[in-house]
């Protein structure tokens, strides 16, 4: 160990490569998965940073960048990767690790030549070398090194031994002075792309001594999965199973968390003298944050499915199968993944829209993501359906289940129609290309999976601990004060609700609903607890039969149906609006989303109320 080296500032190294080349696996392997997400001011993007120490004792700040195929960037993700490499966002990295999936060296060598042309100091890493050689691929590494004039190292990102050669090369490279030069480059002209391609093919042909045919397992699976008839059925079956699992598997853990939150509230109630602190903790913090944390199991199950489908290579196939139908409605096949995530929560969905290449396509996707029925609406739907829709059979189906399904479908159909309108009005643009690689099928890596799942789950918990905690406390205050108030109606929340009531009366909402909608702005599911408080039902939770009975006598059926219709559209979650602002870079689009969703919610609730009244319900 060289103490003099360890004292210096960490060396910045960027990890670049095409999507699916095992970049994240190498990042997780080198850094142990301990990553910090960095936000650049002004840019609505994030990169992952991780630290590790080389065998010679050098501290490294490793930057994981979104995948890109070359230097003609299209998507926000790709632009971010290139800007980081070129040092436009921060100090340029001192060294680039250019990752290439060894199995597809012939295709992806050209991006290495493009990077070489901008003068970036780099090491070429032939990743997943073990898999490629097992397939029968033979590469002459020395020849490749000589032709490229760059250090080349083979790696197997999943195993520690597979990273040792890379670490050794890293120390050797960092020991040379000329590697501490920032790249001073520019994007290659499109004509240069052709030149790099010819050169890349020549080098690949010289260095690859034997190339086996295309992966047979992938070919066999795709024959079924991409079959024009079987393919869409398999996709539908997978999605159906996913939603079933989200609701059936999560039931137990959700009840446990619910009971846990209740027990914690009881414990505090028993050990803290009555007073404002007691009320704040029990009614504000535990009731508010607890009602959101109970969704953690659903979020985890949904992301388990999404992450496995993504890591296995299936997601790109889903986008392929869905592209044409989505294209006809003005969307892009790649919008499929963000919209699917939005069924758990619109926030990760909106963030996942970064993979969409075109700004206008991306904007449309962001604006319709809140229409996908997120898991926070479920407690509201469950309460109202349980109270007002009889559990009778309609043919083979349960009427309650049919209503729930209808609410989901209404959201989806509205989203499609609205996308269709937006693409012809506010997000008008020429049709954008879809050019994407369908990766060979792989077994997902367990470590990568758990790290990704943890990133999602902790982001959700962080939201519960910040936005929802804050709003819960504020709303508790509004509902509990002024101290002179003898009922909720006299409290600040009640007064706000009274102000709203005249606006909501035409769509069949009463004062109690108006009051419950105020806290519902923080998070949709909070409205359930708020209704419980308004109707003074002690200990009302989403499954409380007491609250359901109270509502049955207090609301007419048209009011209940109007309330459901309202919730299909209402933009009732500030965190989603804040995410839209962050991802679009302006309050303009967040405000637009707020406005159009409220208008739709109001119209839908009104229409439902008056038609069901006219129908004599």
């Amino acid at each position: 160990m060289n103490a003099a080296v360890t004292d210096t500032a960490p060396t910045r190294i960027a990890l670049v490569g095409a999507p699916n080349c095992g970049k994240s696996t190498l990042f997780n392997g080198l850094t142990g998965g301990r990553a910090k997400v960095a936000n650049y001011p002004g840019a609505t993007v994030e990169t992952r940073h991780g630290r590790f120490t080389t065998p010679a004792g050098r501290n490294v700040d490793l930057i994981d960048l979104p995948g890109f195929y070359g230097m003609s960037p299209r998507s926000l993700d790709e632009r971010l990767a290139l800007d980081t490499v070129l040092g436009k966002l921060d100090t340029a990295p001192e060294l680039i690790l250019a990752l290439v999936d060894a199995a597809t060296l012939r295709t992806h060598l050209q991006s290495v030549l493009q990077l070489r042309a901008i003068g970036a100091p780099m090491i070429v890493v032939l990743n997943m070398f073990d898999l490629a050689t097992r397939d029968g691929l033979e590469i002459d590494i020395h020849r490749l090194e000589k032709e490229l004039g760059l250090p080349v190292v083979t790696a197997n990102a999943t195993r520690k031994a597979g990273r040792e050669a890379l670490l050794a090369k890293l120390d050797a490279a960092l020991g040379q002075k000329e590697f501490a030069m920032p790249p001073s480059g520019h994007f290659p002209a499109p004509e240069d792309v052709r030149e790099h391609q010819v050169e890349a093919r020549r080098i690949a042909s010289a260095a690859i001594t034997y190339e086996p045919p295309f992966n047979r397992a992938t070919r066999a699976i795709d024959r079924v999965v991409l079959h024009p008839i079987a393919g869409p059925f398999i996709l539908a079956a997978l999605l159906f199973t996913m939603f079933q699992m989200v609701y059936t598997w999560s039931a137990g853990p959700v009840d446990m968390l619910d009971a846990g939150a209740g027990a914690l509230g009881d414990f505090i109630a028993a050990h803290l003298p009555p007073g404002w602190l007691h009320d704040l903790l029990v009614d504000g913090v535990i009731a508010g944050v607890g009602s959101v944390i109970v969704f953690l199991p659903q979020i985890i199950i949904l992301f388990t499915f999404i992450l496995i489908l993504e890591a296995s290579g299936y997601m790109a196939r889903a986008a392929f199968l869905m592209d044409e139908i989505m294209h006809r409605f003005g969307l892009n096949g790649r919008a499929f993944i963000p919209l699917l995530s939005s069924f758990a929560c619109a926030i990760p969905g909106i963030m996942a829209s970064r993979v969409i290449e075109n700004d206008r396509d991306r904007l449309t996707t962001i604006l319709i993501a809140p229409l996908m029925t997120c898991s926070a609406r479920l407690p509201v739907y469950a309460l109202i359906i349980g109270a007002f829709i009889p559990a009778e059979k309609v043919g083979l189906f349960n009427l309650q289940g049919l209503v729930l399904f209808a609410l989901y479908i209404t959201g989806i159909i509205s989203a499609v129609l609205i996308a269709f309108i937006f693409k012809r009005t506010i997000a008008k643009a020429r049709s954008q290309p879809l050019i994407m690689e369908l990766p060979t099928y792989k077994l997902p890596n367990a470590k990568d999976f758990f790290i990704s799942l943890w990133i999602r789950a902790s982001a959700f918990l962080k939201r519960a601990g910040t936005v929802i905690l804050t709003t819960s406390v504020i709303l508790w205050f509004l509902a509990a004060y002024p101290a002179s108030a003898t009922s909720l109606k006299e409290s600040y929340a009640g007064r706000l609700g009274s102000l709203l009531e005249p606006l909501l009366a035409p769509i069949g909402f009463n004062l109690e609903i108006a009051i419950a909608l105020v806290p519902g702005m923080a998070a949709r599911e909070v409205a359930v607890g708020a209704l419980g408080t308004v109707y003074a039902v002690h200990g009302a939770t989403e499954n409380s039969s007491g609250l359901a009975e109270t509502l049955q006598s207090a609301w007419s059926l048209p009011t209940a149906l109007a309330f459901l219709a309202w919730y299909v559209f209402a933009p009732q979650c500030f965190a989603t609006l804040a995410t839209i602002r962050r991802e679009t870079g302006s309050w303009k689009w967040a405000g637009f989303a707020l406005g159009y969703l409220f208008a739709l919610a109001y119209a839908a609730a009104g229409l439902t109320f008056w038609t069901s009244r006219a129908a004599g319900l």
Binding site: Y69, G70, M71, S72, R74, A103, T104, R106, T107, H108, Q110, S111, P190, V193, R194, Q197, R201, E211, P213, F214, N215, T218, D222, L226, P228, I229, G231, P232, A316, A319, F320, L321, D323, E324, I325, H327, G333, S431, P433, L434, I435, M436, E437, L438, P439, T440
Partner: protein, 77 residues
């Protein structure tokens, strides 16, 4: 002939990559289309003959007919 005119399962060779948009051409090249490389029309989308999925060397690429028509191919005999 154009890539979009190939039959499913047909194998050919790329003879030219052109098209009005130089950025699309760059994109096609960067993802792996190259003159003289073999190309196989592996799959067609379920709704229409778009998007299509082609095999290039050891990769599978999906693209819409609009972009695919920039690629000229010659069928293997």
């Amino acid at each position: 002939m154009q890539l979009t005119d190939m039959k499913k399962g047909a194998v050919g060779r790329v003879t030219a990559i052109s098209g009005a948009d130089p950025l699309i051409e760059a994109k096609l090249r960067e993802i792996g289309f190259a003159e003289d490389d073999p190309v196989e029309l592996a799959h067609l989308g379920p709704l229409a003959r778009t998007p299509i999925c082609v095999r290039l060397n050891r990769t599978l690429i999906a693209l819409r007919a609009e972009e695919a028509c920039a690629i000229e191919v010659e069928l293997d005999q």
